[in-house]
Amino acid sequence: MNIVVCVKPVPDREKMYVDKEKGVLVRNGADMVINELDYYALELGLRCKDMQKDFNVLVLSMANHNCINLIRSLYGYGVDDAVLLSDKAFQGSDTLATSYVLSCGIRKIGECKIILCGCESSDGCTAQVGPNLAQRLGMKLLANVLSIQYVDEKKIQVQQIDYQGIKIVEASLPVVITAVSSELKIRTKKIKFILEAQNKDVSVWNAQDIHADCAQCGLSGSATQVKSMHVKVGIQTGVMIDGDQEEKVEQFISYLKKWKGM
């Protein structure tokens, strides 16, 4: 049985900044990294495998071909297979088109009963791909999952966040799970896996390989359009309190008092 973990390469936010004078986002040479929450999804997938040794964990990513080494590096965590979906036709996909492409990839992989993704990406922040995938694949959705307590061929028990707190639920497979950040400790890479990875390849599939209808991919498959982007201007730095420790605290308190009209 296959467990598919969907991962997204995103620009490293630390290295991006807004040039306020020019009003543009500078992404210069920002390295691509794996979206933070996808590591939680990966960890959940690997924990399923810890519990059921014969499960197969695959990572699946739709990305530019030059992300191949980033995807390959995930073998270091102990995943069994890695697949990169890459085609010019996929470029410019919004969440609707992205989930279409991913669902085609998942259908090709076959025998997937658990699909995991990070709840959202750090660059898009929409949290849409997981629920979209569940709908497209006709699978049930477990959103905002913190941890997995039990899994077998037929069912899974997870800790899930909802608006009332945290609950433990049991669901029958197949399911799509979206992972949120938690106290879960994410494992580090193992030398053994890193060495093994040297002989492993990342499968690269294009639109044809996954039988994707190009009209549903990329820009033509996208429903939403970005009409414009603008940088909010006019935000200036406020007053900074000066002085030694004592003076700073004194001043801070006088501001507090002033504010409350005390």
Partner: protein, 242 residues
């Protein structure tokens, strides 16, 4: 889904809450239409819904449209618009009642509840918030902030980083994946000012205490103080008590 198929609305809006953010994309996918997440402003222009949302972090806003498909769907951040008054059939809106008793899920069994959130409404409605981040470091400092909050009549909020460390309960989390707050005064102790946190803070009076003079939070703050929390907090608490 049934209602949308029946009434064929031009626009479908849902709240950008934990639940809304989960079901909206499912619906959009089933209808093969577009969905814009976390809108902070909406406008109608000749039948086109202009959807404004934050993008790529700091200070950028994107206008998104869904020109070719219907319905145009968006989730909207809680509290970005004032509550509308809607009376049934007053000419501006019509309330439709729909029987949902026949819908149920059968794939899911609730086994247990391990944590029940107390109502986070006190945070959503708070006028003054003392927010704490990873810079707080110790339980002792955290307790001091709670004490200060009581003295000053404030509520305590937190960043996700601190919640994830297990230092404070999730109900205190402010931000994109937490509560959206609208206080009159918001004071950040040891918070870097990441967009995912700050997007949940709708406030014109932001004060910040941080030991890193280059922290992003100072760019947004109306009042800033470069100081080490470990020294600043005990002094502040002592003086406030006087």
């Amino acid at each position: 889904m049934e209602m949308i198929r029946k009434y064929k609305p031009g626009v479908v809006l849902l709240g950008s809450t934990l639940y809304g953010r989960t079901i909206a994309p499912w619906i959009a996918s089933a209808l093969k239409t577009g969905l814009t997440a976390d809108c902070i402003w909406l406008d109608m222009n000749e039948g086109t819904l202009i959807q404004v949302r934050p993008a790529f972090g700091d200070n950028i806003e994107a206008e998104i449209i869904c020109p070719r498909r219907k319905p145009q769907m968006a989730t909207v951040r809680p509290h970005v618009f004032p509550l509308a008054e809607c009376r049934d059939n007053d000419g501006t809106c019509k309330l439709v009642r729909y029987d949902v008793t026949n819908f149920k899920t059968d794939f899911l069994t609730l086994l247990d509840r391990i944590k029940v959130l107390e109502n986070s409404q006190s945070l959503e409605k708070a006028q003054i918030i003392f927010a704490v981040g990873r810079g707080i470091k110790s339980k002792k400092n955290l307790d001091m902030v709670f004490e200060l909050a009581v003295l000053y009549g404030a509520q305590v909020g937190a960043t996700r980083a601190l919640v994830d460390m297990g230092m404070i309960d999730r109900k205190y989390q402010i931000g994109q994946t937490g509560v959206t707050v609208k206080p009159k005064l918001y004071i950040a102790f040891g918070i870097s000012g990441c967009i995912q946190h700050m997007s949940g803070v709708l406030c014109n009076e932001i004060w910040a205490v941080n030991n890193d003079e280059n922290a992003q939070i100072f760019k947004k703050a109306t009042l800033g103080c470069v100081a080490d929390i470990n020294v600043f907090l005990p002094l502040l608490l002592n003086k406030m008590k006087e």
